[in-house]
């Protein structure tokens, strides 16, 4: 995992430096004088050789220093950590709703194999997976927020309200009022994967011999489906969940934009639009780190959940 982390960080570094369009020119434009330009270059360390810059980059990052934002002149890491809880809460909330629904739905669809429920259910689920998340968000906003005025139109709080800490947020019902729409819309998009995965696993597991044996033993349908089939079918879904966390972080960009949710994704979009490249680089790096970490966790998790695999690795 560390190797991949290092490799990706290096790629990000070079991407931001070697891409066409010097980062500073984009930011500074033509309004600064030659002097001010040189000052800024020095300040952001852009006059040093590429190798030196890389070395600085690695050492700084390892110490948690991701540089200073061009636009805000504040430490990038501080800005990231400020919005991180919002992203985490949104992601976890949505994923949990999506997975609970998906697992139950998937098991149900597997149970209803070769009936009209399946024939109608599967296209509907595929359609949710095919719809752009932000489009679903737009419809939800137009209908439930603007037209029916049930939910707020975005943000984490009503204008003027401030949360003093993450705990404050979590305890305030206003926060949840703002959280519902974005997380539900995201959940609608996300549930497709666990649902189809669970269904496919269940169908496969139900063919296994030990399921036949359970029927011959005279065990109840409930015991067979839940205790044996579902337990076996869940393994890949658990792995998918961890992978889903890492993936959702990067994908949340659009939902955060539609609902003006102040999270990492929205910050990246802003940073890129404003050519604030330390902020963009830092945010991108952070998102990548989360993704890589969750990929790693997924692998470890599988080792623990499957007795067959853990047996092999222990011996």
């Amino acid at each position: 995992m560390l190797f991949v982390l290092w490799a990706v960080a290096t790629i990000i570094f070079f991407m931001f430096r070697l891409m066409p369009g010097s980062p500073l020119t984009a930011f500074i434009g033509t309004t600064f004088t030659e002097e001010q330009h040189d000052l800024l270059v020095k300040k952001f360390g852009l006059d040093k050789s590429l190798f030196e810059q890389y070395f600085l980059f690695v050492t700084n990052t390892l110490q948690g220093n991701l540089g200073l934002s061009f636009a805000y002149n504040k430490p990038v890491i501080g800005m990231i950590l400020e919005v991180l809880p919002n992203s985490i809460i949104l992601t976890l909330f949505s994923l949990m709703i999506a997975y609970v629904f998906g697992i139950i739905g998937g098991a149900y669809l597997a149970w209803k194999r070769a009936t009209w429920v399946e024939g109608v259910g599967i296209p509907i689920v595929l359609a949710t997976r095919s719809a752009p998340e932000f489009w679903l968000g737009m419809i939800a906003l137009a209908l439930l927020s603007f037209q029916l005025d049930i939910f707020p139109a975005g943000g984490t709080s009503a204008p003027g309200d401030i949360y003093y800490s993450t705990l404050d947020k979590l305890l305030d019902p206003q926060f949840y009022h703002h959280l519902i729409l974005p997380s539900l819309v995201l959940a609608v998009y996300l549930q497709g994967l666990p649902l189809l995965l669970m269904r496919s696993n269940m169908l496969e597991v139900m063919q296994e011999d030990f399921i036949f044996m359970s029927k011959m033993k005279g065990l109840s349908s409930w015991t067979i489906v839940i205790k044996h089939a579902a337990r076996n079918a869940l393994l890949p879904v658990a792995t998918a969940f961890t992978l889903g966390v890492g993936f959702a972080f990067g994908g949340n960009v659009v939902i955060e934009t539609v609902f003006s949710w102040p999270g990492l994704g929205r910050m990246l979009v802003f940073a890129v639009s404003a050519s604030d490249y330390p902020l963009a680089q830092g945010t991108f790096l952070f998102l990548a780190a989360i993704l890589i970490f969750m990929n790693f966790v997924a692998d470890i998790l599988y080792l623990f959940l499957d007795p067959r695999v853990s047996y092999k690795t222990r011996n």
Binding site: F3, V4, L5, A7, V8, I11, M15, F16, M19, P20, G21, P123, L126, A127, R129, S130, A131, P132, E133, F134, W135, M138, I139, L141, A142, S145, F146, Q147, S200, L203, E204, Q207, F247, F249, G250, G251, V253, V254, T257, V258, G265, L268, V269, V272, S273, S275, A280, T283, F284, L287, A288, L291, I292, N295
Partner: protein
């Protein structure tokens, strides 16, 4: 093999629907100029001045945008961009994934290890953020989506194809081909290749949908090309023109529906072929 494809279409209503949807959009895209009454980018005027925010009616089937452009014409032309991006990305994914899978699986050893490491790295880069950054540096263009998909999404198809190649490699007829002096290249392309093609096709058809969705997201975020009409662009236009609060459903619902149809079609087709690839899952 071709006969197999047609048989699947006949038996599976989903795959058939998918193919029909694709054909529908392909026809629309080809004849877009004939079908659309107006130039999608042209600002239109009527008797009362700028033809903005007009509700759907006889003159403008889906009404007009806040800038006075014909929504229906935009919708029709949007199919071109969708197909263009979708099919290029699908080709890229299919070709790259197949080549990588074939080489990695067949030769094994350090080549395989290297490729798998590269795959890990590619999977460690968040997809949408990458496209955003790409768009920021290379300038807004439909190519960004294709490039990003090519660079980051080959591991999925590559890995599956690789494991298929691994199992095929051990088969007896490959051994005998080697013994009788077939060159590696010949074995790869003549013996293993045809068995892999269904997988390439499958991942390709999923990639079309993925590309269209990504393109839509990028356009929505404002990083897409503004001189080309795409469904994503229409959605972004609608959003920033306050179509939501105006309740202009006719503006932003149709482009979304078109996207859903095209992506779903890809899923339907790939599901249909899943039946020939993994027949044991039936019943």
């Amino acid at each position: 093999m071709i006969k197999n494809l047609f048989n699947v279409l006949k038996k599976d209503p989903y795959a058939l629907t998918g193919v029909l949807i694709y054909l529908f959009f392909i026809i629309i895209a080809i004849f877009a100029d004939l079908i659309a009454p107006n130039d999608p980018l042209r600002i239109l005027f009527n008797s009362s001045g700028l033809a903005r925010n007009i509700d759907p009616g006889r003159e403008f089937l889906l009404g007009t945008t806040s800038n006075g452009r014909d929504i229906f014409s935009q919708l029709v032309h949007g199919s071109r961009n969708a197909l263009y991006v979708g099919l290029t990305a699908a080709l890229a994914v299919a070709i790259l994934g197949t080549i990588v899978g074939l080489i990695s699986g067949y030769f094994g050893g350090w080549v395989d290890n290297l490729i798998m490491r590269l795959a890990d790295i590619a999977l460690g880069i968040p997809f949408l953020p990458f496209v955003i950054v790409l768009a920021a540096f290379l300038g807004p263009s439909s190519w960004n989506v294709v490039i990003a998909i090519s660079i980051l999404l080959w591991p999925n198809s590559g890995r599956v194809i690789r494991s298929q190649v691994l199992s095929l490699r051990e088969r007896a007829y490959i051994e005998s081909a080697k013994v009788s002096g077939c060159s590696n290249l010949r074995i790869i392309f003549v013996h293993i290749g045809p068995n892999i093609l269904p997988l390439s096709f499958l991942y390709g058809s999923i990639a079309i949908g993925w590309a269209i969705l990504t393109e839509a997201s990028i356009s929505f975020l404002g990083f897409g090309p503004s001189d080309v009409i795409s469904w994503g662009y229409m959605l972004q236009d609608a959003y920033s023109s306050q179509a939501l609060s105006l309740g202009a459903y006719f503006w932003f619902i149709p482009p979304g529906v078109c996207i859903v149809l095209m992506v779903v079609a890809g899923f339907f087709i790939s599901r249909g072929y899943e039946e020939i690839l993994f027949p044991r899952i039936k019943n």
